[in-house]
């Protein structure tokens, strides 16, 4: 049942443009990838030359190129994993763009030209007009929206200055590679090694851009860091690479993603996120993922293969993952914690919603190596339509880890009777002193609940939203306040039309 799939949700004309532009650039290529190449993209397909092109385009130092090439060679010998409970047509990796695909967003003259369906969702989320224009790609919207969102570039700059004063480094990973090579060299690939898995390895070879955060000893980052505020935010979605380091006693909260529906011409996404928390440090990482899930027949949609892992290296360090996953056609994602430090703490709070033909296989790994390390896993899966939603989690306790505790709660909520919810917990305990608790429930939104809420005045959509948000409350309350409100609306929108 293998059928090749084109990785671009493409427009044939744009492909032709891409080829032409790549061909025009070929001369330059011969001369060794000077960094001032005007071309914005590499030709389709993935070879060593593609990797060199990307690295050259970014003006990376030799060591970075070597690192990428090593990853690429490894990747060629690796097999795509097939153990997740997801099915999709075989991916042809040679039929994709790996750097700044030319099929850029179509520019609109005004918001009036926007797909009314998307416009409606923007309005429902309460996104300001200026910001809508940027998201929709309206001509000349950028400046306006920068004003609207950040209240001018200078505000973004002043944020940066405030961070600098605190000693926090907040850069795109490309900038960091040049400006802070020693820090990047020290940690890149330390938490998620290149050979960790197929998609992480691919990312190591071709990562487009991402974020670098360094919080020095004893510093509490003075604001929530968000991808919103990153200057160099374009074209980073496909193979994003994020590295966050919190030194002894540092604290940082990082917010990734956007509740607005994100469309991207690239179907394959494979991000890697690495977190490092030293002694007494704490990192809180929140994600709202709403990539295009495909249409109601299951056509199109993003494949999201993500590797996220945090290393609680120091004693009493803490890493907390919170995710609200509503988008993508296929999600393969297990934000994990390696708890090396004594009394270190790992947390995973997740809401995953699947509707129509979406498939999500998501969960976490808590690897307890440190004495007295503790972890909490709260997973809320909501399935509707003909979708499949799987929680897959591992709790492992090493032989020397005394006094470990884990609590896991996995709840599934079903809407309708054509969807699936699956829970696959793995528990490996090599120390007899560990206390592991696992609770799981599966429930349906009952007609009784719906009728009760509707009899009090809520229409059907509002009633479903209320019940679902109640179900997900334990996770939503972990999100930063302003994000939580948007996430609640997002859950409701994701489930529209799934009842009745």
């Amino acid at each position: 049942m293998t059928e090749n799939v084109d990785l671009q949700t493409h427009d044939p004309e744009m492909d032709a443009d891409a080829k032409a532009a790549a061909a025009a650039n070929a001369g330059e290529y011969e001369h060794g990838w000077s960094s001032d190449i005007e071309t914005e993209f590499a030709e389709k397909g993935l070879t060593e030359d593609t990797v060199r092109f990307i690295s050259g385009k970014k003006g990376e130092p030799e060591w970075m190129l070597d690192w990428r090439l090593k990853a690429f060679r490894l990747w060629q010998d690796m097999e795509e994993p097939d153990w997740a409970k997801v099915g999709y047509p075989k991916i042809d990796y040679q039929d994709a763009y790996y750097y700044a695909a030319p099929t850029k967003k179509i520019e609109l003259d005004s918001l009036d030209d926007l797909d009314p369906e998307i416009k409606r969702v923007y309005d429902k989320l309460g996104i300001p007009l200026g910001e809508q224009e940027v998201l929709a790609g309206v001509k000349g919207a950028k400046k306006v929206a920068v004003d609207a969102v950040f209240d001018s570039v200078s505000v973004a700059t002043s944020f940066r200055e405030e961070l600098m004063r605190a000693g926090v480094i907040f850069r795109s990973i490309s900038e960091a590679i040049k400006e802070y090579p020693e820090l990047v060299k020290k940690w890149l690939g330390r938490v998620v090694p290149t050979r960790d898995n197929y998609f992480a390895c691919l990312n190591a070879a071709v990562f487009s851009d991402g974020t670098f955060v360094y919080v020095p000893e004893g510093v509490r980052c003075p604001m929530e860091l968000s991808t919103y505020f990153r200057i160099n935010a374009e074209n980073t979605g496909q193979f994003e690479r994020t590295l966050i380091i919190a030194e002894k006693g540092a604290y940082v909260s990082y917010l990734e993603g956007c509740t607005a529906p994100m469309r991207d011409e690239n179907q394959l996404h494979a991000a890697v996120v690495e977190l490092v928390a030293m002694e007494d440090a704490e990192i809180k990482y929140s994600t709202v993922q709403n990539w295009y899930p495909g249409n109601s027949e299951g056509v199109g949609g993003i494949y999201n293969f993500v590797t996220k892992r945090g290393l609680c290296q120091g004693d009493r360090s803490k890493i907390s993952w919170t995710q609200v996953e509503t988008g993508s056609a296929v999600t393969w994602k297990y934000p994990s914690c390696v708890l090396n430090g004594e009394n270190s703490v790992g947390e995973f709070y997740s809401v995953a919603v699947t509707n129509n033909y979406q498939q999500a296989d998501t969960g976490t790994k808590m690897i307890h190596n440190g004495k007295g390390s503790r972890s909490t896993i709260i997973s809320k899966g909501i399935s509707a339509g003909k979708s499949n939603n799987t929680y897959r989690g591992l709790v492992r306790v090493g032989p020397k880890a005394e006094g470990v505790r884990n609590f896991t709660q996995c709840d599934s909520l079903l809407l309708g009777d054509e969807c699936g919810a699956h829970t696959v917990p793995y528990i490996e305990v090599k120390n007899p002193g560990a206390q592991i608790e696992h609770e799981a429930t599966t429930s349906k939104i009952s007609d009784e609940q719906l009728f009760y809420a509707m009899q009090r005045g809520l229409d059907e959509e509002e009633a479903v939203a209320l019940i679902v948000n109640g179900f997900a409350k334990d996770v939503l309350k972990e999100l930063p306040m302003e994000f939580a409100v948007e996430a609640q609306k997002l859950l409701a929108i994701s489930l529209e039309g799934s009842v009745g």
Partner: protein, 255 residues
């Protein structure tokens, strides 16, 4: 205010559709508290559910006019916004949602439907506080999740607080007195009086027992049996039912 005319309704059951209401007619004018009594299986809860618009019930004949509108033209939430409140015999749990959140959203949805301004968080809390005090419920209870972990009596009292906050013009109360001890019964009964006793409101009070009627003195009492109203009278009818039983009173009515 509520005019039920020759109502026939079926319910979806394990063995297919089953006719429950068989030509029920009843009128409750504004200002009236009308008690419905009757033996088990007579169709009392079916009547409440059909009026509320619960899925699984099919009206095969007849009509219900509510404040001049055809009730069956309205979805359940539209009936609510038009002023119809259904007090549930078995109030439903909604985990993770507080009573405050539930009621504020419900009330504001109703207000939106009626073209009224939404209440702010502060305005709503003040209203909720007043109504909870009336029913001797503290605000802590309103902060708890909807009916989760509530005792039977608490659930019924919570229903009354919901009624107080939503302030309907007509309440259909389905065995609101079941599962209540004497004190709770008095509190609920007084709640009904203070919220619903008014010249422009009406109540259909479905009950098995006289004891609630001692507190909420009904204007009229009807006996529902076999899917129809078989007898209607004043408050004394309820006393006779209590004393003599349904069979005796109904046999007399049939004679």
């Amino acid at each position: 205010m509520l005019k039920i005319d020759n109502l026939h309704a079926e319910v979806d059951g394990a063995g297919g559709k089953k006719a429950i209401l068989k030509g029920l007619s009843l009128e409750v004018p504004a200002g009236e508290v009308h008690a419905i009594m009757g033996p088990n299986g007579a169709g009392k809860s079916t009547l409440a559910n059909v009026l509320g618009g619960k899925p699984g019930y099919e009206v095969t004949q007849g009509s219900v006019a509510f404040k001049g509108e055809d009730l069956f033209d309205l979805d359940p939430h539209e009936r609510a916004a038009t002023g119809l409140f259904l007090g549930f015999q078995y109030p439903v749990e909604i985990p993770g949602v507080s009573n405050v959140q539930f009621l504020r959203e419900a009330l504001n949805s109703q207000r939106k439907y009626r073209g009224e301004e939404a209440l702010s968080g502060g305005e709503f809390l003040k209203l909720a506080k007043d109504k909870a005090a009336l029913l001797k419920m503290d605000m802590e209870m309103l902060k708890r999740q909807v009916n989760v972990g509530f005792s039977g009596g608490e659930k019924k009292r919570a229903e009354m607080v919901q009624m107080g906050i939503l302030d309907p013009s007509f309440a259909v109360l389905d065995e609101t007195d079941s599962g209540l001890d004497i004190d709770a019964l008095r509190i609920v009964g007084e709640g009904i009086n203070s919220i619903m006793r008014s010249g422009d409101k009406g109540v259909l009070l479905i009950t098995h027992y006289q004891r609630l009627l001692d507190v909420v003195k009904p204007d009229r009492v009807s006996v529902l049996a076999g899917g129809r109203i078989v007898q209607t009278g004043g408050p004394e009818l309820a006393l006779r039912l209590e004393a003599e039983g349904y069979d005796a009173v109904m046999a007399e009515a049939a004679a």
